[in-house]
């Protein structure tokens, strides 16, 4: 598969991972993938992919109820999403 196609598939896969049980999460996560993710650093992209593995109530606490994740690696991406285009 050519590289552009590969990237497009990767983005499509991530967009589907952003489909959650709550509208609020759908919108925040999807907006990030559509706008910032493609140009983000490899580290930031990896942090976002890790974040997607968490359960919806955790994401809700961090993104909508102003709680901090215990995992330090995730704090920066959570802050970005809260302030981002979710926007």
């Amino acid at each position: 598969m050519p590289r552009d196609d590969e990237q497009a598939r990767e983005l499509a896969r991530l967009r589907w991972q952003c489909r959650r049980g709550m509208l609020e999460l759908d919108e925040i996560l999807r907006a990030y993938v559509d706008t910032r993710y493609p140009g983000a650093s490899a580290g930031e992209q990896a942090a976002f992919r890790r974040l997607l593995d968490y359960q919806d109530p955790e994401l809700q606490q961090w993104l909508l109820l102003d709680r901090e994740p215990e995992n330090e690696d995730l704090r920066a991406i959570v802050t970005l999403l809260r302030d981002g285009p979710g926007a």
Binding site: A12, W16, R19, R20, M22, E24, D26, D56, G86
Partner: protein
């Protein structure tokens, strides 16, 4: 390439609370059970149900399933079937205990019993004092239930097809359902799943409206599959709107904001609810507040550059109260409306929240379809949860009864499925498989055409404007005509991406077809019901009409036809609750 095929005893489409509670009933058998879900199961919309589940356990104060039944019949505005409601309220008790035994971490009282909280519409002694009937697992009840059921299903070796999208049911000449054609999103390859019995548990269809509180996944897939298989949808005109969704976005702003002293204003700064509900004002019932907001906008008193919303003012409450008593409101306002609610008002508009209607079933979850002047069970097909209509919510659902509905009737369907497990698979109907494949392959057509996004937005906007909160003959006649035109345009839609691997554009196109099928069912049913009942409000027919309209609507896809059937007013073992004016 030959179509891949798999055989299971039972196929369950949808992995929310209803689907997983149906699947777990088969855990103690040797049955081979498949669950198909378009997203990872614990990301189903059940996670958004945070309030709790009603059951008359009497852990906090005296309670009785019969009182719960009365509240539900009254709440339904007497359109609910009283046999199904009695069954649900009785079965609520063993259902909650079964969940507890399966490991759901319900919040506890000091004496170790399940904690129960008071919730609107729940009373003691047939309309007396407030009852405490709602069982919760902190503020994440839906997720706790979903997570527990998922783990139990994994233990029971239920086979999960995660990220598979269901295309259509497969049906033979006798009308029996033989399974479904599904699509693996990852590879883009179709798969035929044959089953002795199939359960539709795909949730609601809020995405049919432009402004909705529903997650993106709620596209009415199961409801539309049922329609295409010749099954009607029942009481689709009954859709619950929450008055304060963030304008243009749909996220709920809790009623608690108005409970704490927040109020609505129009562009002139007027507290307009004083005109519509002089006593209750901003705390009037959801339908009254929703209609008032839409009236203000329609009469030119809306706010913002397009005058298309009103403001919810809460800045006068002060930062401390907002942060302490209304957690998350400032964050939601900031993220989704770009507004700090402690300093400025929030733009709000009614948001589509919950479908009371759906696939008609009996209390065992068996799907029913009209035959001649009566109705018959569709062999091999079940439905449960928001996609189904038993009907226990009738014209209006009470808080805490939605989780209860999915759990009780998911369980009932699962228990009834057991009788199919010893039977044989019926022969496959290849013509029906070809038809489902053709629907999928239609999206391979190339060339220029409309985009999915364009048509989806036009349809959803039309639904909001013409089949939303404000429903008159004139508005809805115009709307149904326009929706039909938009439906015609579906054949002109083309995809630009024809790849197979993770082609989500194709899934979104299939979802659009489903949204449009459900939307038409809502609009046509609403146009024809000439009365106001529950959430269906007609300014041109402002009263409930029990003489002519105490009946269920049945919408059929073929020719947008409508049929009706009587409400079951006779409960299983107690006296009928006769219709009365619904006053709170």
């Amino acid at each position: 390439m030959a179509l891949a095929r798999r055989r299971f005893d039972a196929l369950i489409i949808g992995a929310g609370g209803a689907g997983l509670n149906a699947a777990i009933q088969l855990a103690k058998t040797d049955a081979r059970v498949a669950v198909v879900s378009k997203v990872f199961p614990t990301r189903s919309h059940t996670v958004a149900a945070q309030g709790g589940v009603n059951a008359a356990l009497a852990n906090v104060m005296p309670d009785n399933w019969h009182w719960h039944m009365f509240d539900t019949v009254k709440g339904s505005d007497y359109l609910g079937d009283q046999d199904a409601i009695e069954y649900m309220c009785r079965e609520a008790i063993p259902t909650v205990y079964e969940l507890e035994h399966n490991g759901v971490p319900f919040s506890r009282l000091d004496n170790g019993k399940i904690y129960q909280r008071p919730f609107g519409g729940m009373t003691q002694n047939f309309g007396g004092a407030q009852a405490a009937r709602t069982c919760a697992a902190a503020d994440r009840t839906g997720h706790a239930i979903l997570h527990t059921l998922y783990q139990q299903n994994l233990r029971a070796r239920t086979h999960f097809f995660d990220e598979y999208f269901a295309i259509d049911l497969i049906r033979d000449d006798e009308g029996a359902i033989l399974g479904a054609l599904v699509l693996e999103i990852e590879t883009g390859e179709p798969l035929l799943i044959e089953a002795k019995a199939t359960v539709l548990a795909t949730g609601g269809c809020g995405q049919a409206f432009r402004t909705t509180s529903n997650a993106h996944i709620n596209t009415g897939d199961g409801m539309a599959m049922a329609l295409r298989a010749g099954v009607p949808l029942m009481d689709m005109e009954f859709f619950q709107f929450h008055p304060t969704g963030i304008a243009g976005r749909g996220m709920l702003i809790t009623e608690g904001v108005r409970g704490e002293g927040g109020y609505l204003i129009n562009k002139d700064g007027e507290r307009f609810m004083e005109r519509y509900a002089p006593n209750a004002k901003d705390l009037a019932s959801r339908d009254v507040v929703s209609r008032a907001i839409v009236t203000e906008v329609k009469e030119g008193r809306g706010c913002g550059p397009n005058g298309d919303h009103v403001y919810l003012k809460l800045d006068h409450l002060g930062e401390e109260i907002i942060s302490k008593r209304l957690p998350g409101i400032r964050e939601s306002g900031r993220i989704f409306a770009g507004v700090d609610a402690a300093r400025e008002p929030l733009p709000v508009f009614p948001t589509a929240h919950y479908a009371m209607g759906g696939i008609p079933t009996d209390r065992y979850g068996r799907v029913l379809a009209p035959v001649g002047t009566g109705e018959e069970i569709v062999p091999g097909l079940y439905a449960a949860g928001e996609c189904a209509c038993v009907s226990v919510h009738g014209g209006n659902r009470l808080g805490g009864n939605s989780l209860l509905d999915i759990l009780v009737f998911g369980r009932a369907a699962g228990l009834d499925l057991l009788q199919h497990m010893e039977s044989h698979h019926r022969p496959m109907d290849e013509a029906s498989v070809d038809k489902a494949m053709a629907r999928l392959e239609r999206w391979d057509r190339k060339g220029e055409g409309l985009s999915v996004a364009e048509l989806r937005e036009a349809f959803r906007r039309c639904m909001e404007d013409h089949a939303g909160v404000f429903r008159t003959e004139e508005i809805m006649t115009e709307g149904v005509e326009r929706l039909r035109e938009l439906r015609e345009q579906l054949s002109e839609v083309r995809l630009q991406d024809h790849s197979k691997v993770f082609n989500t554009a194709r899934i979104e196109a299939l979802e659009l077809e489903n949204i449009m099928a459900c939307g038409m069912a809502i609009a046509v049913s609403a146009l024809n019901r000439q009365e106001s009942r529950g959430t269906h409000s007609r300014p041109d027919y402002p009263k409930r009409d029990d003489v002519n309209w105490m009946k269920h609507s049945l919408y059929l896809l073929d020719g947008d036809q409508l049929d009706y059937k009587p409400v079951q007013t006779k409960p299983l073992s107690v006296e009928t609750f006769p219709p009365k004016e619904r006053v709170y």
